[in-house]
């Protein structure tokens, strides 16, 4: 049966989302092995201007659905491009990144097409017999479940942003762009009435992009102000490890670690004066970038960090603050 690989390419703030670039990379890898085409879907009010970008990241065909009705995300309207393009004698593998919008669309696509669904997929590997082996975390990440999907069936694969990493763009790539007629779009049953921006003082730990964590390296409570100043310039949220919360210096809802019951995966996690107990690391190891400041070069967290600054936090933090202010 003929097979096609679809990717929903999202854009935000005038550029293609990094998570969509990751999906295009994954789709390209699979398509090269299966010798089939990658079809990207660009959906939105001004979708067509991203088409060449999407091609350079791996798409062979870009299906553009450009209409004012797509300006706000609504699951029912965004399903229309996929369901209208689906042909009964073809099988599809659909890659969607688990952004706030992708999280709503991906399982709905799987339900609409009555097909297999792999959520938070870690790896997708094509097997020699033509089936797809997908690994999915279960039981809160304590085990990974390996699923097998047949290539004759449609499958929706949803991956967390940051799970595969972006690949470079190949400007020499060529592809086809197709504009589609949007008269058949159903009217949206929802309407966006407003937008509330997050307040760094009250936003939840697992939703924020940048996190700064204080540890036992701080000697007295007022010293945490050093860290708060840096956090304010970066627009980051201040969290801490358990010993600091137990002393009452940081509120409980800003705890990072197993005891908080949540795993955070921010863009950067700057850990200051934290040695890295296993409970703390479990709570933040999913972060994209880990930066650690500690006097002890051999601390667990220092070995794990993407950037480790060895030194006294009382000297480094004021330096960081003054250099950031000077920019």
């Amino acid at each position: 049966m003929e097979h096609e690989i679809w990717v929903w390419a999202e854009y935000l703030d005038d550029e293609i989302r990094e998570s969509s670039i990751e999906m295009l990379g994954e789709a390209r890898k699979l398509a090269d092995k299966m010798k089939c085409k990658v079809c990207a879907f660009l959906i939105g009010e001004c979708a067509s201007k991203y088409a060449s970008n999407v091609i350079s990241y791996g798409a062979d065909i870009v299906n553009i659905f450009e209409d004012q009705k797509f300006s706000d995300f609504g699951v029912e309207t965004y399903l229309y491009p996929f369901s209208s393009k689906r042909e009964p004698n073809k099988a599809y593998t659909i890659f969607v990144a688990l952004t706030p919008d992708g999280l709503a669309l991906a399982p709905r696509l799987a339900a609409k097409f009555q097909c297999g669904y792999a959520a938070n997929a870690v790896t997708t590997i094509l097997q020699p017999d033509g089936s797809l082996k997908t690994t999915v975390p279960v039981y809160m990440g304590k085990a990974h479940c390996v699923y097998r999907f047949e290539m004759d069936d449609t499958t929706v694969i949803a991956m967390k942003p940051g799970s595969v990493g972006v690949t470079g763009a190949d400007e020499k790539r060529t592809g086809e762009t197709v504009m589609f007629d949007t008269h058949g779009i159903p009217k949206s049953k929802t309407q966006r009435k407003g937008y509330i921006k997050a307040d760094p003082n009250t936003v939840a730990m697992d939703e924020t992009e940048d996190v700064v964590a204080a540890g036992s390296g701080f000697k007295i409570q007022t010293d945490i102000e050093l860290l708060r100043n840096v956090a304010d310039i970066l627009g980051a949220v201040v969290g801490s490890s358990k010993p600091v919360v137990d002393k009452g210096w940081i509120p409980r809802h800003r705890l990072i670690g197993i005891s908080s019951g949540r795993r955070i995966s921010p863009r950067i996690c700057l850990c200051v004066g934290i040695s890295g107990s296993s409970q703390f690391i479990e709570g933040m190891k999913e972060s994209r970038t880990i930066i650690a400041i500690n006097k002890d070069k051999g601390a667990t967290l220092m070995k794990m960090a993407d950037l480790a600054l060895v030194g006294d936090l009382y000297e480094i933090l004021p330096e960081i603050e003054s250099q950031l202010k000077a920019r």
Partner: protein
């Protein structure tokens, strides 16, 4: 008076101990206890906080064998007004995957004729988040995910929801009914169950819907899943991923290194020792390279 259904799941407490050392076909879950899915409990608490009892009657609904009654009683003690369990003797617990459960729930919801359907966004064990959107598809209802506030709009029967968007921001959405809404764990804190509520909940009846009640054929339910589970393996270690697209494509050696978990090699060493000025400069350069500054 609004008719609200909250779908809940009785599942194994995945925060408990599971140790997986080698690949295996079946996970040993004997040390785990069944609990009410925390996201579903948060969903119930959110509905109760936002909608007063005189404005909306909440029915909790679950698919499960008689042991799931315990979870329904917890819900009855923390804000639900009535409870329904869906089960038939012909059901096999292993065949109850997300697809079959969504089908059964949708048939029960049609019978209960609800306007607002709320459920947790994902379960502890599977974390697929499939049931909420699947219900919206089967009921042809509006779907809004990751909601942390809801309000009835007086007059035209629509409701206002706050949906979680990027970086902690919230989208304010107005929607017509029927609507299926999913709620994350942490959106609302369930109240502590008092002794009085607990005793009252024990005496309340739980309605049972079997296949005959739902007017459903057993052949619809026990259909095979789309995917085969091959095995369970221990979790993979964290690999270093590049945050931004590299200027040059990676060489084959670098790709191998990244896949095996070492991380793509970087020009500068990732450990900085030296004076604080140097350390601070490295930090800022690193953030610039990662496109954060």
């Amino acid at each position: 008076m609004q008719r609200i259904v909250v779908c809940v799941k009785s599942e194994l407490d995945a925060t408990g101990p599971i140790f997986l050392i080698e690949p295996t076909v079946k996970i040993n879950t004997k040390d785990l206890v069944p609990i009410l899915n925390p996201a579903d409990h948060a969903a119930l608490a959110l509905v109760r906080n936002c909608i007063a009892q005189e404005d909306g009657q909440i029915t909790v609904l679950t698919v499960g064998p008689p042991s799931a009654d315990k979870v329904l009683r917890t819900c009855l003690a923390t804000g639900a007004d009535s409870a329904v369990r869906v089960w038939d003797d012909s059901f096999m617990e292993e065949k109850m995957d997300a697809k079959n459960i969504s089908l059964l729930l949708s048939k029960a919801i049609k019978k209960l004729d609800a306007e607002l359907i709320v459920c947790g966004s994902e379960s502890l064990c599977e974390t697929s988040g499939y049931v909420g959107p699947a219900l919206a598809e089967l009921l042809d209802a509006v779907q809004i995910c990751k909601v942390d506030f809801m309000q009835c709009d007086d007059g035209d029967g629509s409701m206002v929801f706050h949906r979680k968007h990027n970086y902690g921001n919230r989208e304010v959405i107005s929607s017509s009914l029927p609507a299926v809404v999913t709620v994350d764990f942490g959106a609302a804190t369930p109240p502590v169950v008092s002794m009085k509520e607990s005793i009252k909940a024990k005496k309340m009846p739980i309605t049972l819907f079997d296949l005959a009640e739902l007017a459903c054929e057993s052949s619809e339910i026990n259909a095979d899943a789309n995917a085969n589970i091959l095995q369970y393996i221990p979790p993979r270690p964290r690999t270093k991923k590049l945050n931004k697209a590299p200027d040059k494509p990676m060489t084959k050696q670098q790709k191998m290194q990244m896949m095996l978990g070492g991380g793509a090699s970087k020009k500068n060493s990732s450990v900085v020792e030296g004076n604080p000025k140097q350390a601070a400069k490295e930090f800022i350069d690193f953030l610039i390279a990662q496109r954060i500054l």
